[in-house]
Every structure is written in structure tokens, then in C-alpha cells.
Symmetry: C2
DNA sequence: GCCATTCAGGACATATTTTGTCCAAAGATA
DNA sequence: TATCTTTGGACAAAATATGTCCTGAATGGC
């Protein structure tokens, strides 16, 4: 996919896509059918994109939708940890819980 | 802390605390000041406890509040991954993003 | 069998959170 | 200065989550 730097935020990656394309907020916003102000907020991680919007962004910039969605999800998890000031080891615990819950559901 | 099995869900751990204490839903609910039906739902992971409630639970069962909170947070992350059918590697990405965002904030 | 009690789960009103837009102001560019 | 872009606050609208009430199934004692 065309996203360049890894491990930056979803918003930063989106901004990079836009700037690489040499477009303004207004132009991109018009194409993906949202208010430019909302796009600006998403780029600064002040608003979260809906799934529908992620799809439109992926289509517009011709990047892989699933990868973009996973960028967004990993952002959400990262921000949750920061917001809650949680220890990073909860990620490991979460991973084990995923496995556990999956076994529960296969019964 | 008194929680026994690891890597089960928050609700199951809560239920285990209650059953270990030999108490009914009604009794515990009365003590932590919620409707028994809500407590039952939390035990079955159909409702999420508020932080205030987590504090009350920790106080009541005399378990470490911070640990209980982290159990809850890891649950939330696990359920998010399951709900979104996301790849587990997003946890690794999230971890790197946490580090990245922290460096951003220290500037 | 019958009564009392516990637990599960649906429906629903209320509360809380999030989203998206509008508008004004700040920053850039020329 | 004039124009265009970006930032950011305020706020209505939409979406989501919470907590309670109520009904019914299940269990256990008598």
C-alpha cells in the first residue's frame, strides 16, 4: 500500500496521503463527501473516521481498505492505552483472552 | 489478588469472586449498589462496568483496583479484536504507536 | 406438588458519547 | 491587501451504552 511511514498515527498517514497527492483538505473532502473541517480533525486525530469513511478514503487514494482499517484499529487501541495510562502488558493479556474467547465460542 | 484463573474474561473472574465468596447476585448487587440484573449481565459480559463500579467491586471483594481495571481494559481490547475480526498483529502495531505517540507528546 | 429464591434475558427509557456542520479566526501565499 | 487553506470552538443530531423493570425458566427445600 502507498502509506509510507509506519507506526505513525492514522491521521498522520492520511495527511501524508493527501500531501503526497498534492491536494488541499477542501479538495479531498469534496471527493470523499465530508466537510473539510471534519477531514482536518481526522488528520489531527480529533475525530475518528467511520468505516464508511475509511472505505471512501481507501477508494479515493487507492490504498488497501483492510490495511487502512487495521491502521485505524491499532490507533484506537494505542489511544485507549494512553488515555487509561495502562501498562503495555495488557496487550499480551488481551491476546491470550482472544484465544480463550475463541475456544469458548467453539463449543 | 484473589482472582484465580488467568486469561478468562472479566465477567468470569467477577463471577468466580462472587461464587468463591458463596454469595448470590442479589447479595453482591445490594452491596455494590446496582440492580442484580445488571450484575448478572456484567458477569456474562453483556454490559461493561463503569470505573466507579470497578472500584466498588474491588473494594467489596478486597482485590486490587488497578489490576481489576486492567483486566477490564484487556477484555475490551480482546472483544474489539474479535468484533472487528482483526489480525492479532495489530496489537504489535498498537504497541509501537503508543511509543511513537509518547515521543510526540514529549516535544 | 408447591413455594421461595436465583438467574437469564428481552424491552425500553435515560444518559452519555460521538459525529458532523457551521462559522470565525489564524496562518500562508502571492 | 486579497485569497485560499487550515485550525478550532460551539452545538445540534445521531449513535451507542447504561441501568431498570419485568417475565419466565431452573433449582432446591419442605
Amino acid at each position: 500500500m502507498a502509506i509510507v511511514k509506519k507506526h505513525t498515527t492514522f491521521g498522520e498517514q492520511l495527511r501524508q496521503l493527501r500531501e503526497t497527492a498534492g491536494m488541499t483538505l477542501r479538495e479531498v473532502a469534496a471527493n470523499i463527501e465530508i466537510d473539510p473541517s471534519l477531514l482536518a480533525k481526522i488528520e489531527r486525530n480529533q475525530r475518528q473516521p467511520t468505516k464508511h469513511l475509511i472505505r471512501n478514503i481507501a477508494d479515493f487514494f487507492e490504498v488497501n481498505e483492510k490495511e487502512l482499517l487495521e491502521e485505524f484499529l491499532s490507533d484506537q487501541i494505542a489511544y485507549k492505552i494512553l488515555d487509561e495510562e495502562a501498562d503495555l502488558n495488557i496487550l499480551k493479556v488481551a491476546e491470550e483472552k482472544v484465544a480463550y474467547i475463541k475456544t469458548l465460542r467453539n463449543e
